[in-house]
């Protein structure tokens, strides 16, 4: 397992406490200013504020690397992923869009 993935999984497992009535999501952001991919764990108890915990920043700013990482993460967790800042970009392996629609807060 590579080091980035290990860090993400470690922090994800620490933050994923499986609280009742709480939605957990992994947010992956393309940060074009820093040239990094940022990972966050977002969780929200029903009707409460959304909390967003930083997990890791990937310095290797290549989609092939990100895809490999996401694949590794998929094997570890069933949580849903949301992508922000990827509008128009496609996964290198199958040319599918990464992020469907641009969010209104972007």
């Amino acid at each position: 397992m590579n080091k980035d993935l290990k860090v993400i999984i470690e922090r994800l497992d620490a933050g994923f406490k499986r609280l009742p009535q709480t939605r957990y999501q992994v947010q992956i952001t393309d940060d074009p200013y820093d040239k990094t991919y940022n990972f966050f764990l977002n969780y929200q108890h029903r009707g409460r504020r959304l909390k967003s915990q930083p997990l890791h920043s990937i310095r290797q700013y290549r989609l092939t690397y990100l895809e490999q990482l996401v694949k590794g993460l998929r094997e570890h967790t069933q949580l849903s992923f949301i992508y922000v800042g990827f509008t128009g970009q496609r996964w290198p392996s199958n040319q599918r869009l990464i992020q469907g629609k641009r969010l209104k807060d972007e």
Partner: protein
């Protein structure tokens, strides 16, 4: 008023719109002006949580204030995002922003004023970047937005104080995020301010003092007899009077360092500390942290001070909110000597009150050029003790603070391990450098 002999220049005071909140929003791919986000520290000593920063949207909808609002005042609204602070990231962004500013001014004309504010003296260089200072301001704003994703507000003035007032009073409410004050517009821009506390440098106590003198707005402040004001308030009175007229004679490129540097740390404890042993553990830890910082700066301290703040209940019973005492010592940067001195101050003054706040400061700093030996121990033992401190520092620098801690830090009440990664008391970085 004849402003002819006052220094005329082009000064910008640039600050970041909701700095911490914006940095966190950008890192998540959100627009800092659209998202409702608060940066909240949930450390154990914040009594449930302290709001460090709020995005403009959150300010508007929930009327939250940075550094004042508590977690219990933040509504449980599903639209609101709460994130933990990352001080190291903000410091990094601040350095990047100042690097951008250096493309517009020479280094000596740039004065970083706080973590999110900088003063720029563009007197000599603004013509290189636009036809008017306002155009240059827009250009700087666009550069920062393009390269870092952050929005900046710019106050423009003929001198630094005008720029600061333009920023606080006008830029923050302007659509372009730019405000301007010049000598010619002082009457319409500064004297029209009705609330004294809106002005930089005037908070509640100063405002009350001015009220007592019959001064209730900036116009009245500008038209008071300056000699009378100086007689009543001293130098500050003179300074306030100058500000009311938009006068500031400081020269950015002639920096004045502090007359007497000091170095220290303080912390708010997560609960009431009652037992002497527990309190002394914390004092020892803070003392060691300060000593370690002295060594990193290659300084020795000739004076240590200890400040103790009581809990609310104890200060009501006692009548004082705490105590503070200084002590002169032979210049040193060693753990043992600094800790011994502060513990002595503590035992001399403490009478069993519950404690919530501990501060250790050192002053009368001098360059650490050698070790003053004494007659009462063998030289070998003294040198060995000094070396031990340095070896511990080196190990911590290399492997991290928590790799090597004193056993006392593991006792009940110790805070050093938990606080090792804090910056400015908040999450993010190594605080022992």
């Amino acid at each position: 008023m004849n402003y002819q002999n006052e220094p005329h220049g082009v000064f910008f005071l640039i600050d970041n719109k909701s700095f911490y909140a914006s940095v966190e929003a950008v890192a998540r791919g959100w627009n800092p002006l659209k998202i409702a986000l608060v940066v909240m520290s949930e450390a154990s000593n914040t009594n449930g949580g302290l709001v460090l920063a709020t995005s403009p949207e959150a300010k508007k909808h929930y009327h939250l204030q940075a550094n004042v609002s508590r977690a219990r005042e933040v509504p449980q609204d599903p639209q609101l995002v709460v994130v933990p602070p990352r001080m190291n990231l903000y410091i990094k962004r601040n350095l990047q922003i100042n690097d951008i500013f250096r493309r517009f001014v020479a280094n000596e004309d740039l004065l970083p004023y706080s973590i999110d504010e900088s003063i720029l003296d563009l007197t000599h260089s603004w013509r290189l970047f636009g036809k008017t200072p306002r155009e240059v301001a827009i250009r700087i704003q666009k550069t920062v937005r393009r390269e870092l994703g952050l929005y900046t507000t710019v106050g423009i003035g003929d001198n630094p104080v005008q720029a600061k007032l333009a920023l606080d009073l006008y830029a923050k409410h302007d659509d372009d995020l730019i405000g301007e004050i010049h000598y010619s517009t002082v009457p319409e821009k500064i004297w029209t301010v009705d609330k004294l506390t809106d002005v930089w440098g005037i908070a509640n106590r100063t405002a009350t003092h001015l009220n007592r003198l019959g001064i209730y707005n900036m116009y009245e402040l500008a038209h008071v007899d300056p000699y009378q004001l100086k007689g009543e308030m001293g130098l500050i009175g003179q300074q306030l009077f100058a500000m009311a007229w938009g006068i500031d004679r400081s020269q950015l490129n002639q920096r004045r360092g502090p007359k007497n540097a000091s170095l220290g740390n303080s912390q708010v404890l997560p609960r009431d500390y009652v037992q002497q042993k527990e309190i002394e553990t914390v004092i020892k830890e803070v003392g060691e942290q300060v000593a370690s910082r002295l060594r990193h700066h290659h300084k020795q301290a000739g004076c240590v001070s200890l400040g103790i703040g009581f809990s609310y209940a104890a200060s009501e019973a006692d009548g004082r909110s705490g105590f503070h005492q200084e002590m002169r010592i032979a210049p040193t940067d060693q753990n043992a000597e600094i800790v011994a001195a502060v513990i002595r101050i503590f035992r001399r003054n403490w009478e069993g009150q519950t404690v919530r706040n501990v501060a250790v400061y050192t002053s009368r700093l001098c360059a650490s050029t050698g070790l003053q030996l004494n007659f009462f121990e063998s030289a070998k033992a003294q040198i060995k003790r000094t070396k031990t401190d340095h070896v511990v520092d080196a190990i911590r620098d290399r492997f991290g603070f928590t790799r090597l801690v004193y056993a006392s830090s593991l006792q009940k009440g110790g805070t050093a391990i938990e606080r090792a990664s804090l910056v400015g008391g908040h999450n993010g970085g190594n605080a022992y450098e």
